[in-house]
C-alpha cells in the first residue's frame, strides 16, 4: 500500500510506506520511477535501493512493530548533484549510525558475527548520512552523489 505524490516544481517525491516488509517491493518501484522521472543513471538504483532497504528493514523489524499506529515515510529529491533520501518513522528514538552493532568484515567464516552489516553498507555506499530526532520522529537523511 502506498500513495505517491510528486511536486513538479521541486521534483520532490513523497511516499507513505506500509510499516512491514512489503515496503521493500514498493521501495524498488518508487526508486525506479524517481530515477526515470529525474533522468538519472539507472546504476544509482542498486545503491539507493540497498541503503534504503537496510534502513527500512531495521525500522520495520526493531521499532515500528511495537507501535499501535506505525508510520513510515520516504521523501526523495535531487539537490546540488545529490539524490537526497529522507526516511522518517514514528518509532522510539534510535540512531542506527551510532547505536547499531558494529559490523565485523574481517573475521574468519566460522567466527563472523551476523549483525550490523546493513547499517555498515549504508554508511559505505552513501556520500553523507545523518540522523535527527524531530517531533517524536526518527529522521534519517542520506546523500548519494550522481
Amino acid at each position: 500500500m502506498s500513495d505517491s505524490q510528486t511536486q513538479p516544481e521541486t521534483g520532490k517525491s513523497t511516499v507513505s510506506l506500509a510499516p512491514d516488509l512489503s515496503a521493500l517491493a514498493v521501495l524498488e518501484q518508487t526508486l525506479e520511477e524517481f530515477i526515470e522521472r529525474s533522468g538519472l543513471d539507472t546504476a544509482l538504483l542498486f545503491r539507493l535501493n540497498l541503503m534504503l532497504d537496510e534502513l527500512i528493514t531495521n525500522s520495520v523489524k526493531y521499532s515500528l512493530d511495537k507501535l499501535p499506529e506505525p508510520r513510515l515515510e520516504l521523501q526523495l529529491s535531487v539537490e546540488d548533484g545529490f539524490v537526497v533520501a529522507r526516511l522518517e518513522d514514528n518509532g522510539p528514538a534510535f540512531d542506527p549510525f551510532t547505536e547499531a552493532p558494529q559490523a565485523d568484515t574481517t573475521s574468519e567464516l566460522a567466527d563472523r558475527p551476523i549483525g550490523g552489516l546493513g547499517v555498515f553498507l549504508t554508511k559505505e555506499l552513501s556520500d553523507r548520512y545523518a540522523y535527527q530526532r524531530i517531533n517524536q520522529r526518527n529522521c534519517i537523511v542520506i546523500h548519494c552523489r550522481y
Binding site: L21, S22, L24, A25, E28, A43, F46, R47, N49, L50, D53, E54, T57, K61, A103, T105, T106, E108, L109, A110, R112, I114, L117, G118, F120, L121, E124, L125
Partner: protein, 112 residues
C-alpha cells in the same frame, strides 16, 4: 526470487533468479536448507540472474557457507553482477567465500 537446482556429477548448482531481501529470505533459507541436505561434494550458487541482494541475503549466504563448511562440502559463488560483487567486497565476504567468474570456473576450482 526463484531458486532452481541442477545436479550433475556430484555438483549441486543453486540458481538464483530475481531479488533476495528481508521479505523473501526466510523462504529462500528453507529451500536452500532442503536442497543441500543432499548436496553431493560440491555446491555452487549461481548469481547470474540475481539482480539484487541486501544484507539479509548476504547473511543467508554466509550461513549456507558455514553449514557446508562444517560438512566439508566445497562451496563457491559465481557470475556476480558488478554491483553485487562490490557489495561482497565491501562486506569482506570475498575473503571468506570463493567467488568465480562462471559456473564452469567455480566447479573446476572446487574439483581442484
Amino acid at each position: 526470487m526463484e531458486l532452481s537446482t541442477e545436479r550433475e556429477d556430484g555438483v549441486l548448482s543453486l540458481l538464483l533468479d530475481g531479488r533476495l531481501d528481508g521479505s523473501n529470505v526466510s523462504e529462500f533459507d528453507e529451500q536452500v536448507r532442503a536442497a543441500i541436505e543432499d548436496s553431493g561434494s560440491i555446491v555452487v550458487m549461481d548469481f547470474e540472474k540475481l539482480r539484487y541482494i541486501s544484507s539479509a541475503g548476504l547473511r543467508s549466504v554466509l550461513m549456507t557457507a558455514r553449514t557446508l563448511g562444517n560438512k566439508n562440502v566445497g562451496f563457491a559463488l559465481c557470475s556476480l553482477s558488478e554491483q553485487i560483487r562490490e557489495v561482497f567486497e565491501i562486506s569482506g565476504f570475498d575473503k571468506i567465500i570463493a567467488v568465480h567468474q562462471s559456473r564452469a570456473d567455480a566447479i573446476a576450482a572446487l574439483k581442484g
